[in-house]
């Protein structure tokens, strides 16, 4: 038997998957809204102040999702030492970390594209947008291993735990 003990929230796999996807949509959605807010420093002047409400809701919802993901059992598995996992869990964890790395690299590439070509599509990259992009990248990168682990775990595995 492996030495691992359950420490976090023991959520059902479909629930965790849904929270992970909703968190990604929430945080990236908030960033997208921020990008299309002209004069993001003071949107009240542009008549688009109402967009701050969905932006705030998506950001807060996303951050709550990050908190739940970080406290989930899968997050502890993703951060476990090699000796605490068996060979299958180790392979799954390594795959989840690899997928997270790919996700972060793709996001960084996307960020570079926006910085380089964003002005052609009317996106003014302000300091606030860069700060929010880094926040989204950081938080989603932290929960990535747990999320990808949940996405690749078979649904019937939870019945055996």
């Amino acid at each position: 038997m492996t030495k691992r003990k359950h420490h976090g929230l023991n959520l059902r796999i479909p629930v965790l998957r849904a929270i992970f996807i909703a968190t990604l949509i929430g945080l990236w959605g908030a960033l997208a809204i921020k990008c299309f807010l002209p004069g993001a420093d003071d949107p009240a002047d542009t008549g688009l102040a109402w967009l701050l409400v969905p932006h705030g809701i998506l950001t807060i919802g996303g951050l709550i999702g990050v908190g739940v993901m970080l406290w989930s059992d899968f997050s502890f598995v993703a951060q476990s030492a090699d000796a605490e996992l068996d060979e299958r869990e180790l392979a799954a964890r390594n795959r989840a970390h690899y997928l997270t790395l790919r996700y972060v690299l793709c996001a960084v590439l996307l960020g570079w594209c926006v910085l380089e070509f964003g002005d052609r599509f009317g996106i003014e990259v302000s300091r606030e947008i860069i700060v929010q992009f880094l926040m989204v990248l950081g938080f989603t990168g932290i929960i990535g291993p747990a999320g990808f682990l949940a996405l690749q775990t078979e649904r019937n595995a939870e019945e055996e735990s």
Binding site: M1, T2, R4, L85, D86, E87, R88, E89, E154, N156, A157, E160, S161
Partner: protein, 80 residues
């Protein structure tokens, strides 16, 4: 894909997945993954499982699907 008879041997010996998992040092979920063919074990784990059941690795694992037990017993029934 690697086929195996883990579920058959485990049922024959009246062992739970947890019992078998403890004997070979893995999580009980991993035994489920192995039985469903969702995970192919390392050589080390295959040897440990074969040792628990006291059979050869070839009797426990195969690259070809194992014939159904009913088909294997059928000729004997006809002969008796």
């Amino acid at each position: 894909m690697v086929h195996n008879r883990i579920a058959l041997f485990r049922a024959e010996r009246q062992m739970s997945r947890k019992d078998l998992a403890e004997l070979v040092g893995v999580n009980p979920q991993t035994i489920g993954f192995l039985e469903r063919g969702s995970y192919s074990p390392s050589v080390e784990l295959a040897l440990k499982l074969a040792a628990v059941f006291r059979v050869s690795v070839h009797q426990l694992f195969s690259l070809e699907p194992f014939p159904p037990l009913a088909d294997q017993l059928a000729p004997r029934r006809e002969g008796t």
